[in-house]
Amino acid sequence: MGHWLPLGQSLISMALLQPLPRSIFWRLTLLSALIGLLATAMLYGATRWVVMNHSNATLTRIVDTDLAGLVDIYASGGLPELDKRLRDRIAFSVKGEDPAHYLLADREGKVLAGDISKWPAISAENSQGTFTRLFAGQPVYARATLLDPTHKLLVAREYGGRDSLIHRIGTAFVLAGTLVVLLIALAGQLASLRLRRRVMAINTALYQSQSDDDVSQAPVTNGDELDILSGHVNRVLSRQAALIISHRDISDQTAHELRTPLMHLDMRLLKAIERALDPALLETLARARQEIKKIIRMLESLLDIAANEAQRGDFKRLQPANISELAESLADLFSDSALDRGLILETAIAPDVSMKCDAMQITRMISNLLDNALKYVPSGGTVRLSIAVGPVISVTDNGPGIPVEIRGTVFERFQRPGGQSSNGHGLGLALVRAIAERHGLSITCHDANPGAAFVIKPEGS
């Protein structure tokens, strides 16, 4: 079974080892290449449109000029001269120029001269000009006109040259476009790699602050936005490191400064006990020693709560541990104490549930919950410790339960589920919550109908 890790922790450690499947830089490169492709396509479209328009305008002008010339020839030389010129033009073709076709017909469309076999659907009365296909199939631009009430003339010109030009431009754009996309992808990839390295350096600094004692710094180079981010990260990391050290120092000093005088007091009490003869005085002195021990326990619990709260989200030094075995061992330790109180301690422990944790703290967390149940469940009750994959750790009983109105505050410091008169310093459940949250777990208290159920599971699950 894999060890359970908080999501953030696993993502970061993964990113440090290999490229992410959803890297922002990979997506940026892809997007740049797509934009390059789109820009090239749009440029091609615009070029094609301009070339097409220009070619069409030239084509219509040539055809119109040709037609006008022939109309002039007819006006000056009549049909014979026109027929002669048409034959000349049909016979004479300039190499590289698109071929022209002509048709002279009578009013009914009967062919009188020219190289077109049949009058197409073009109106000579309106001097109509249009792109069409001749009966031989070749695409042309054609214009017709009436020479006189009984004769009409058609001039058509093929435009294969235009299409071949468009084709050549298309080929050039495909080649240039491919080159542009490749260059953008390459440049994007290079820029991405550089950016990725810098972002990962910041991530590494943040990640190492979770796993090492040394404060590592995010690199600062030339003062751009990432450097500003690095600067902020470095300040936060330094501040965090200083706070951790100061917290540890204050905890240690508090413990030391309180324990030392308490030890002196305890030793004086012991000396007094050695000399005291009055049994009542002896009892008072011995009770005073017990009070000292209670103060020490409370102090330690408070410091433990503070330490766990300070380490929340800090997965330093956590080691994989089999919490099933640890729970079995605790159940074994507690079972006779439960029997002594007339309680049954049941277990439902899934085998080999493991998690990265401070095993001693997790043991303490479960132990505190068992302490709590054994204290508040009356004789004849049942306490159930269960461990499931997740991990989900729960301690359920069929005792009086926790009243709804205090369920929200039962994990606060100095709250006692049984009221102020009950035993204990009221820090047990506060420590349970602090330990749970230090491991990325959350604890809730439910109604077990009847009884109380304390359930600990990964935060957000």
Binding site: S251, D252, A255, H256, R259, T260, L262, M263, H264, L265, D266, M267, L270, I273, E274, P279, L282, E283, L285, A286, R287, R289, Q290, I292, K293, K294, I296, R297, E300, L303, D304, A307, S329, D332, L333, F334, D336, S337, D340, M360, Q361, T363, R364, S367, N368, L370, D371, L374, K375, N423, G424, G428
Partner: protein, 250 residues
């Protein structure tokens, strides 16, 4: 908590010399401690047990004395002027000195204990402490290094413990024990005649670095005692009130 349910009149003894047979005494102890109250008290306590105590109140001096003299056990305070107890422990260990080290410190949280054990300390006791607990720990530490026999059968009084077969006999009669009960009995017979404290049992038998509020140790030892004394009423497992237990010869 165990202090809540004991007879307070039993908590008043400074020394633990009410033993049936003191197995080992007259230890040569070095105590490095800058606090005069603790220094005087511990020196007096161990002297009353028959041990010779050399008390040094400075870290550097303590380090030199520890390295030059031959002591059975060294008791180290943690916060010391000059060089602190953790550093002394680490330096002694790296210099190859294997004398058992007990750290007696005003820092008692599990984190502090782990730091001590990582530095090479063998045992860690927090102040304030029960005098009997300190004596028991010092004795146990010395025994651990001085008497590491691995004989397959341990005989103590009318009790016999077969290590490999994991069986216990008393007066020739087999006593059926669960695996955990055997581990507990084995710990007692390894420390036969010495006081074994609750904290030692929690730490060494159940691997716990804290004392649960529930009286788990008393109940588990009680069950072992009932099994040992069933059919043979002579007590073999004494309760040392406020401190722990001792396995004695019937």
């Amino acid at each position: 908590m165990f202090f809540d349910n004991i007879n307070v009149m039993d908590m008043i003894s400074w020394n633990t010399n009410n033993k049936a047979s003191p197995p080992m005494a007259d230890l040569n102890i070095l105590y490095v401690e800058d606090d005069p109250v603790a220094g005087q008290s511990v020196t007096a306590l161990m002297a009353a047990e028959g041990d010779a105590v050399t008390w040094v109140s400075d870290g550097n001096e303590g380090m030199q004395v520890a390295a030059s003299g031959s002591f059975d056990v060294i008791i180290l305070d943690r916060n010391l002027p000059g060089i602190d107890g953790i550093a002394i422990a680490a330096r002694l260990r790296s210099a190859g000195i294997t004398t058992p080290l007990l750290m007696l410190s005003a820092l008692g949280r599990s984190e502090n204990r782990i730091e001590g054990l990582d530095a090479g300390v063998d045992d860690y006791l927090a102040k304030p402490f029960e005098p009997a607990e300190l004596v028991a720990r010092v004795r146990a530490l010395h025994r651990r290094t001085a008497n590491q026999s691995h004989s397959p059968i341990i005989i103590f009084g009318d009790m016999e413990c077969h290590i490999k077969a994991r069986t216990v006999h008393r007066d020739g009669r087999h006593i059926p024990l669960s695996p955990k009960e055997f581990t507990l009995f084995k710990y007692f017979i390894d420390h036969a005649g010495d006081v074994v404290t609750r904290e030692m049992l929690l730490r060494d038998v159940w691997n716990l670095g804290f004392d649960p509020e529930t009286n788990v140790i008393d109940v588990n030892v009680g069950r072992l005692r009932r099994k040992l004394e069933e059919g043979n009423e002579t007590p073999v497992l004494e309760t040392i009130w406020g401190t722990g237990y001792r396995l004695v010869k019937a």
